[in-house]
Amino acid sequence: MKWFLHKLAMMFGADPRKAAPTEETDAAREMKRFKKTPDQVQKRKEIIDHEHQYPLVSNKWRNMRWASIILINAMFIVSFAWDVQLVEGSMSASRFLGFHMADPNAALQVFLAYKDLVLNLVIGTVTVVLLWWIVGGRAFCSWACPYHLLAEWAEAIHLFLAKRGWVKDHPFHRGLRVVLWFIFMGLAFGTGYTVFEYINPVGIVSRALIYGPTVAVVWVIFLLGVEIFFSRRFWCRYVCPIGLTYGITGAVAPVQIKYDLEKCVHEGECRAVCLVPHVLEITKMGYASDTTEFIGPDCTRCGLCVDACPQEALSFTIRGLDKII
């Protein structure tokens, strides 16, 4: 429980740390001890060398995810363009086959600014919260958010330039996102305007895709420029309050990424590709608390680590499924 609270605290900006001896299970302690024997260290070294010689490249989850983002946003576009009434509206609020859907972050701002509740908005928000709770809260970010896709492409450019030493990543403190979440909610309440929606690239991109380009898109291009030249994925990592709202939504979601200590060779391929690498600190030698564990609420379930891990130590799973079957 304490270990889970630590993972929750990490979502709110706490630095990752090793599992304390009191948080370790006996099995984990035993396995860590075993993994530190010279024989095992040598064996892992050989495995890693072999991997580097014959790298395996898989983009299975990434491709499915990109298809998902494109499909979801295409449904919005097509619904309006051809008047098929599949998903009317945009990312902030919509009707899916007539059922209300509302972005919980935008809905909360509207509630705080307007100080009144309309039943349709409550229904829409609850529906969305339940849907994304099942698949893992921040799964919204990596499986639906149109800005996420653009940011992934910007990230690829950033990494390409960084590899050649032309740009450098400037990290920020992750606690900023929490502070901004409260500031923007406070501003909505205090000023009576949905202030964050003015700079929200998700809303801007979604509306531009559906209703045609706007000047506001320049702001999104600027943000992508910052991500390419100054700070890797800075908006999603350190700023976006929507990510935090969905993170809370899916704190104890059924769909999880499971880490298997036994299979892991601790080379860190997963952390190199991750949007939120702090959740994968448990893959460092000696950090995990159990032989298998879920990697934490801030995870966007994007599956990049699952693709990246040559040992299949990380996998998609459904909480409690092993107990049912």
């Binding site: 619904s79 309006f80 009317e88 509206g89 945009s90 990312m91 902030s92 609020a93 919509s94 009707r95 209300h100 509302a102 972005d103 935008a106 809905a107 509207v110 600014a113 307007y114 100080k115 009144d116 309309v118 349709n120 908005l121 829409g124 400037h170 990290p171 920020f172 403190h173 606690g175 900023l176 502070v179 901004l180 500031i183 923007f184 501003l187 000023t191 009576g192 305007y193 949905t194 202030v195 964050f196 929606e197 003015y198 700079i199 809303g203 801007i204 509306r207 559906i210 209703y211 706007t214 000047v215 506001a216 320049v218 702001w219 800075f234 350190y238 700023v239």
Partner: protein
Amino acid sequence: MTDASQTPKKPRLTRRELERRRLILRTVGLGVAAVAAGLVGWYPVYRKLFDRLRPPGALAEKEFLAACIKCGQCVQVCPVEAIKLADGDEGYGLGVPYIDARAQACDFSCDAVQCVLACPTGALSHAIATKEEVTMGFARLARPESCLAMKGEGFTGLARGYDFTGLLRYEEIDRWEPQPVASHPYELDLCDLCVRECPIQGAISLERISDDPADPRRIPTVHKACVGCGTCEMICPTEPAAIIIDTEITLEAQS
């Protein structure tokens, strides 16, 4: 450097501490920048740089901006596509719906307030159910000197020219399919387009200017029933329109 007899100075920061300090400073900078960027949107609203006609059922401007979730569902249901979403230059009005009546008025082709029914947040208030209950604005003869009826003139041809894209419900042609204004030529001895095409009963009429029965001149007179839909502004054949809609903001400024 290693001289122990030196007076103890402030301990030099290690590389790690220096990095940490830079990270914190950078973070504060980003936080301030993000909030500042958010607050930029306040300026156009505060200065009332834009005076927009809002869709039927819209709450009072301040509340409307608060309650609107910027989803555009009202845009999607409008059969004449009268509703547009504002751009970033309108500050907190970004993504909020408005109607440019001159380009495409709300002519109630939907048989009343589909946009209200579509609104998920009540920004377009469900308190109204019929077109007569709408209060978007109020029509005003802003340029009486250019009004054809005021001059006693008729009108022949297309009200807004052949390239005008606006639609209007011409019930005698098709009750269910709004027709392009550009497909519908008029031949009028006295121009009464604003009265003829008004979708609201008793909202506007032509009144005599003088007691002389031979005097053809008439003045378009707006009555209380006017809901401010803007159909008169759209159909007015003079350029610019002789009759316009005063929005809530304008009306407040006038009173």
